[in-house]
Amino acid sequence: MKEMPATQDTGIDTAEIQRVLSRHKSQIKFCLAVCARCSMCAHSCFLYETRGQDPIYMPSHKMINSIGYLWKKRGKVTPRELQSIGDIVWKRCVLCMRCYCPLGVDIPFMIGLARRICREQDVYREYDRP
């Protein structure tokens, strides 16, 4: 993941994160409240299936620990926490959009939202770095 250069301001624009969260408040609240941890999404995720069914690859886990975490913390995250969220939404998800939820949670949208928040804080995947 791209690391914030030492010469740049490493502060997070919490207000901006909160603006994005607020814009999608209803959908975020719905998705987080409705998720029953049924794990049906897990079996629709090829990364989960091919990574030894490691729970960290479950779409619900990814959603809860990315956008869910941002929501729970009201956007007040540290750069390190944002890097971790970036690792989840880029290294554990390719946005193939195959994840299925019987309750109608739009997991790809939630992952995409987390990526959007990360991008706006200059956190994104760099493909020429490990």
Partner: protein, 225 residues
């Protein structure tokens, strides 16, 4: 994935020099992976353009925005509140994504900042090899996994041309003869009979625009007669 490469800087300058505020759109998909048009590359280009025009005594504003996938409207529509307000849009996604953006914002001039070069494989960081030209008539199952359209200078489908010299191509002697490689691969797999069947000439369907309706989705999109 699709491989793109940034256009020469002067070409980009000429395209947008008449506009005072420009949105530069990056793509989080293929363009990012091949290090040609992702968020970092957008930032770098914007810095270069601002510096260039500043030295010319022109103040221009370059805004950056990277969508996850420029070829998908779900992501492109994130630009709805930004693109129409800009004098022009520069796009660092492949031509497919650039065209989708141009289609979405028909009143705003849209310019590609990159050339779409190939469908290719990653050999190393920053090093990519073309492997496919999307001809739509894939025969690599019969040629040992080696594409005669991409790898043979003459696009031959039924064996070498006779110009093979020491295993190299007569059109360009720095590249291997694809059919020599096909022969060796098939011989290794004991499948030489696969190239004994004469295949029909390539129809070059990739010279006209195509639409793909995936298997299982026919009912959704095709009109019933």
């Amino acid at each position: 994935m699709i491989k793109i490469k940034r256009k020469p800087f002067q070409e980009i300058v000429e395209a947008i020099q008449g506009y005072s505020n420009v949105l530069n759109v990056g793509c989080g998909g293929c363009a990012s992976v091949c290090l040609g048009g992702g968020q970092k590359e957008v930032w770098i280009l914007n810095e270069e353009l601002e510096e260039y025009f500043r030295q010319q005594g022109q103040e221009k504003r370059f805004i950056a925005y990277t969508v996850e996938r420029a070829c998908n409207l779900d992501y492109v529509q994130e630009l709805d509140g930004i693109a129409p307000q800009k004098a022009a849009v520069l796009v660092m996604a492949c031509a497919a994504g650039t065209q989708l953006i141009a289609e979405r914002y028909p009143d705003t001039p849209v310019y590609p900042a990159v050339n779409t070069v190939a469908i290719g494989v990653d050999r190393d960081i920053g090093l990519y090899e073309e492997r496919c030209r999307a001809c739509g008539e894939c025969v690599i199952g019969y040629t040992g996994g080696i594409c005669p359209v991409t790898r043979c200078a003459k696009g031959l489908f039924n064996g070498p041309c006779g110009g093979t010299n020491q295993g190299m191509c007569e059109v360009d002697d720095t590249i291997p003869c694809a059919w020599q490689e096909i022969f060796e691969r098939l011989k290794r797999q004991n499948r030489l009979q696969d190239v004994m069947k004469i295949r029909p000439a390539m129809q070059w369907r990739n010279q006209t625009q195509r639409t793909v309706i995936q298997m299982g989705y026919e009912e959704r999109y095709m009109q019933q007669e």
